[in-house]
Amino acid sequence: MLDMQGISKIYRTDLIETHALRQFSLRVEAGDFVAVTGPSGSGKTTFMNIAGLLEDFDTGRYQLDGTDVSGLSDAVRSRLRNERIGFIFQSFNLIPELDIFDNVDVPLRYRGFSRRDRAERIASALDLVGLRSRMHHLPAQLSGGQQQRAAIARALAGDPGLLLADEPTGNVDSLMARQIMDLLEEINEMGTTIVLVTHDLELARRARRNVHIVDGQVSDFWSLEPPAPGLHAGLVPAMMAPA
């Protein structure tokens, strides 16, 4: 699904160069549920942005679904984001002027689906997150947890193979966080690959795999099942059992 080899990303400002990722390699298999942890500033968001085609990288190779994404035009990258990737953001990023229905509709309109198609997808996505009865509410009329569920519906309505969630529970209370995690597990069980960045180790432990990033590199990871042989060439990970 996602295969990064030796990726580096350097942010240059007038005075300083920040090596956000250095020789970063990671593979995520289709259907996997990977939780990414690491200290603040270690490069988690940078990794997610590159994985989600929101940002370019400087060196290395990245294949998404077997396609080498370096050198793709902005229009093609936009289309790949639209069709293959669902994003969930820490601060939900719902459009405040639009009701929940129209928010979920945003990526579907860019996709060019017919009106009836869109209405069906919106209804079933909102069903999944339990917000169908709230579809004509504005984001501000919903709680944080509900808003994040609406954002999940928006990410899923286009049936992406890959769901990228950067600290989706960072702005909600712990009860809501567990509900969102339940929802993500359910979604993963239906076949969607998920990469989740979180600070909450308890939540991270519920994923199939954990990846820990320190200083722009994968420092270690564990997995519920042993990875297929030869998948992680170049990495020397310490295998750890779930605590």
Partner: protein, 401 residues
């Protein structure tokens, strides 16, 4: 193609204040533009209409006798002989009035005896070089000869002949040729029409019968005299200086009042029209600029305020072109709302202006051109902010809290 119109409209609807203000500016600018365009067009046409004369090569001299020894007839003879003898002078005539110079007389000319009222005509008294000095074209008949020029009017003297402009001849004789026909003065005395002038303007630029002019063969009354002088092309200015120098001192019994070119007289006559056109154009341009700045400001504000939203849309699959279109569409909706209100306002203002001031009502052409102009201005004003929106990187979605 999916224009994504509804969500944009909904978004405007939910926070309408800025959009309303800008739409109002657009409406106001359009209403003024449409009405001013009609008035300006009318004034420009008025200022530019032909007066039938040889304006660039004409000037006028005004003199006035002021001592007891002053002899009006002798002065005319001397001055005209001198003027006509000047190399470069094509013709010179004494005249009772100067076209486009706001002082002259009119009289009712009848096309049949016994009528109570006639057709109002601007009357010019000129001599045998009158037509040549005016530089107007005779389309029928002949000019006056020297022997036909009558001395200054004593009481109510009868006139044997008269020249009419074609416009005046047409209203007097709508059935056909006026040449050789009789017109009648207020005392019912017949006057023969001996010539038809193609076109010329009289004294009052705001009179709707400005081209209803009649020329009679008579020396105007003194002691003031106006000489209309026509020169060869390019020699006017030199001759004006020469005439001014000479006439200031040639005859101590009279004063040289002024010497003015026909061009400057014409310019002065249309000054108010020209100023109105310039003023209205400037006001309209200013209002359009304000509206354009409003559209630009609103779009710039929207782009700045929604940076994260733009990044999110990009993350969700919007291409740069989708973002440009989003903001141009949003801006166009505001312009369209403003233009719709503006058309209504323009029609209402036009109705009021036409009733109160008899000004021309804006036509369909003015309205549609105005709407198109406002629309294009709106698109141009929103263009740069829309481009800036498209340049917002998608990573903003995850980097902005």
């Amino acid at each position: 193609m999916n224009w994504n119109l509804r969500p944009i409209l909904v978004a405007i609807w939910r926070s309408p204040t800025g959009a309303l203000l800008v739409a109002l500016q657009v409406a106001l600018a359009l209403a003024v533009l449409v009405n001013a365009a009609g008035i300006v067009q009318q004034r420009v046409q008025k200022v530019g209409r032909p007066n039938g004369m040889d304006t660039p090569n004409q000037f006028v001299v005004a003199v006035s006798g002021f001592t007891r020894e002053f002899d009006y007839t002798a002065m005319l003879a001397t001055d005209l002989a001198w003027l006509r003898g000047l190399p470069g002078v094509v013709a010179a005539s004494v005249t009772s009035a100067v076209p486009l110079l706001d002082s002259g007389s009119s009289a009712g000319i009848r096309n049949a005896p016994g009528l109570k009222a006639g057709r109002q005509a601007n009357i010019f008294e000129m001599d045998e070089q009158g037509l040549a000095a005016l530089g107007v074209r005779l389309v029928a008949g002949r000019a006056f000869s020297a022997e036909e020029i009558l001395p200054p009017a004593q009481g109510n003297q009868a006139l044997p002949q008269i020249l009419l402009t074609r416009a005046l001849a047409r209203v007097l004789f709508p059935d056909g040729d006026a040449l050789g026909r009789q017109v009648y003065d207020p005392l019912d005395r017949p006057i023969t029409v001996t010539g038809i002038i193609e076109h010329m303007h009289g004294n009052w630029v705001d009179w709707d019968k400005l081209d209803h002019v009649a020329i009679v063969p008579r020396v105007p009354e003194g002691p003031q005299a106006l000489y209309l002088v026509r020169t060869r092309a390019g020699e006017r200015d030199a001759l004006m200086r020469r005439v001014e120098e000479h006439m200031a001192t040639s005859d101590p019994t009279r004063l040289l009042l002024w010497v003015r070119s026909m061009s400057s007289i014409e310019r002065r006559a249309y000054l108010a029209d020209r100023n109105l056109a310039i003023f209205l154009t400037a006001v309209t341009a200013a209002l359009l600029l304000v509206a354009a700045l409003g559209i630009f400001g609103l779009a710039t504000y929207n782009v700045a305020a929604r940076t994260r939203q733009i990044g999110t849309r990009r993350a969700l699959g919007a291409r740069r072109g989708d973002i440009v279109r989003h903001f141009l569409l949003e801006s166009s909706l505001v312009t369209t709302a403003g233009a719709t209100a503006g058309v209504a306002l323009a029609l209402a203002a036009g109705y009021w202006l036409s009733v109160t001031w008899q000004l021309p009502r804006p036509g369909l052409l003015h309205l549609s051109t105005g709407v198109a102009a406002v629309w294009i201005i709106g698109l141009l004003a929103a263009w740069q902010p829309a481009r800036r929106a498209a340049a917002v990187p998608p990573a903003v979605a995850t980097r902005t809290v």
